[in-house]
């Protein structure tokens, strides 16, 4: 669906992007993750045919963006970081204008506008000028204009920008629903925004892609050590404390008591949680060792924010 080969973008002598090369299959939902100013918006704008790459080739649905820009534009829906809405236009008029601009017939637009209004849940503000809308509504109008012509490729640049937590959850839900109908590219500098909605992540740093893959693949490949959290209720007759048992498991490099999860101190009363770090995924081994030693395993999870550590390591580490 999308193919980039050695794409770069220079502003004067300053390199903003690249060289980057990647492919995206039809139906994928891909997240571009990176700190502010690493080239995410530049990359998305090139894909939306709003910016010419300095070198390299970009094809979308087999069409070269420089040779057939208008054909590509018909196939792409684009929501920039700030929704491109005309403040004086009522929502319905605006969506009609965008639909016609994208090449739809009046009949198609008349059918489609109520559909996208319903979908984006903006029907109740359809007659209001967009300048009177809240940021959340404006962002939804932005999504509606991006999908009105039913594009194959949907590009969303920071779709949760400036939204409150409730609006962020609604936007995530909207994006998840869109996955069935479009190939979606999303950018964000906030990891959870992307990891919750995307099948695949491309991590950008200093204009280049420094890692790509699913959340699990990235964790597998990039984590030098693996973390887990294990909650244990110590057995009364156990010879060793849970901490000693875990420390004794081969491959465990560090055990840290996270504090009692229950009422006791974890030795003989309520459960206690331990953060365990190892060279590999040791969840099964640690669990077996604890049970064999006479302890009860209440919960066993990979440590939260594991991928965030990878992300910070990749981009933050490179920055520092």
């Amino acid at each position: 669906m999308v193919q980039l080969t050695d794409v770069t973008k220079y502003y004067g002598r300053k390199r903003a992007l690249g060289p980057v090369s990647f492919e995206i299959d039809r139906g994928d939902t891909v997240g571009f993750l990176g700190l502010n100013g690493v080239g995410k918006t530049t990359l998305l704008r090139i894909l939306a045919c709003g910016l010419r790459p300095s070198s390299g080739t970009v094809t979308i649905d087999g069409l070269d963006v420089l040779r057939d820009p208008h054909e590509v534009r018909k196939r792409v829906g684009y929501l920039p970081e700030l929704p491109p809405v005309y403040g004086d236009m009522p929502v319905s008029d605006y969506l009609t204008f965008v639909g016609l601009l994208k090449g739809m017939s009046r009949e198609q637009v008349a059918r489609r506008v109520p559909e996208v209004e319903e979908y984006a849940r903006i029907s109740e503000v359809r007659d209001m000028p967009t300048r009177t809308l809240s940021q959340g509504y404006r962002q939804r109008v932005g999504v509606a204009q991006a999908i009105i012509h039913e594009p194959d490729l949907l590009i969303l640049d920071e779709p949760t920008h400036d939204l409150d937590p409730v609006q962020i959850m609604e936007m995530r839900g909207m994006i998840r629903a869109l996955k069935d109908h479009h190939t979606i590219l999303i950018s964000s500098h906030i990891l959870p925004e992307i990891s919750e909605t995307c099948d695949r992540l491309l991590i950008l740093n200093d204009g280049e892609i420094v890692a790509s893959g699913s959340e699990a693949e990235l964790s597998e490949r990039l984590m030098m050590s693996r973390r887990m959290a294990v909650t244990v209720r110590a057995g009364a007759g156990a010879a060793q404390t849970p901490e000693a048992v875990i420390t004794g498991v081969e491959g465990v490099t560090r055990v840290e008591r996270a504090g009692a999860a229950g009422r006791g101190d974890g030795d003989d009363a309520g459960p206690a949680t331990y953060r365990v770090e190892g060279a590999a995924d040791l969840r099964a081994t640690v669990c077996r060792a604890l049970v064999e030693a006479g302890h009860d395993v209440i919960a066993l999870n990979r440590a939260e924010r594991e991928l965030e550590r990878v992300f910070v390591g990749l981009v933050g580490g490179a920055k520092s």
Binding site: G50, R73, Y78, P84, D88, F97
Partner: protein
């Protein structure tokens, strides 16, 4: 030539003039000043007696200046505002050609300016009823105003295409228009062949004189259309260059 996108943009821009206070302010100021100037030069105590044709020529002369100012005021927001608010990105990423955008915006401004101009028709009608003038004189005078307005609007469209700041666009448009107005004065000062060159390029003076007195010269019509085409072409080229950057 497919004018579909031009029509879509034309309608949107025209709605903006109608919805925004700016369009009404420009219209109100132009109509007020047209009326005030007409009263001062034709009806007031200082006016004196003149031939109706000269009164009508005086009205078109004053109206031409106001039309030029209104054209600058109406055009400066056309593209600069899109860049300022980020909506240019919508146009840039839509399957629409730059000349279609430029033409749609220009035509909407021309339609609105023409509507303002036609709203002054009561003044020539007063002269027609109370004096002795030909209807053709009125029609040719209005054609001149529309052509002059078209030329200045195209200058404004060019100015608004080169910057995202409306004040800068206004300054650029005012300077270009002002210099083209001054060409006529310069042609009166310098000797030939420079005087002929200045007179040929002057946006007022020789090219507008015929319209003032009800004479239609093809060369004047061609001049204003050529100026309009030149600046719209330049604006399109600027848009093309900026679209991908």
């Amino acid at each position: 030539m497919n004018l579909r996108a031009t029509g879509i943009i034309f309608r949107r821009e025209l709605q903006t003039y109608v919805r925004s206070p700016m369009g009404y302010i420009v219209a109100a100021v132009v109509l007020l000043l047209d009326g005030v100037f007409f009263y001062a030069t034709a009806l007031g105590p200082e006016a004196g007696e003149r031939l109706s044709g000269l009164v009508l020529a005086g009205f078109f002369y004053n109206a031409s200046g106001l039309t030029a100012v209104a054209a600058v005021a109406l055009s400066i927001r056309l593209i600069a505002e899109e860049r300022q608010t980020g909506t240019q990105l919508l146009l840039d990423t839509s399957p629409v050609r730059d000349w279609e955008i430029v033409l749609g915006k220009f035509l909407s401004a021309l339609a609105f300016l023409s509507a303002i101009t036609v709203a002054t028709l009561y003044i020539p009608l007063l002269i027609l009823v109370n004096g002795k003038i030909a209807v053709g004189h009125i029609l040719i005078g209005y054609l001149g105003l529309v052509l002059l307005g078209s030329a200045v609007l195209s200058i404004g469209v060019f100015a608004t295409s080169v910057t995202r700041h409306q004040l800068v666009a206004a300054a650029i448009a005012a300077v270009i228009t002002g210099v083209m107005f001054l060409f006529w004065e310069l042609s009166q000062i310098v000797g030939p062949p420079l005087s002929r060159v200045f007179a040929a390029f002057a946006i007022h003076g020789r090219h507008f004189a015929g319209f003032l007195s009800g004479l239609l010269h093809l060369r004047d019509v061609v001049y204003y259309l050529a100026v309009t085409y030149f600046f719209l072409f330049a604006a399109t080229k600027v848009m093309e260059a900026k679209r991908w950057e």
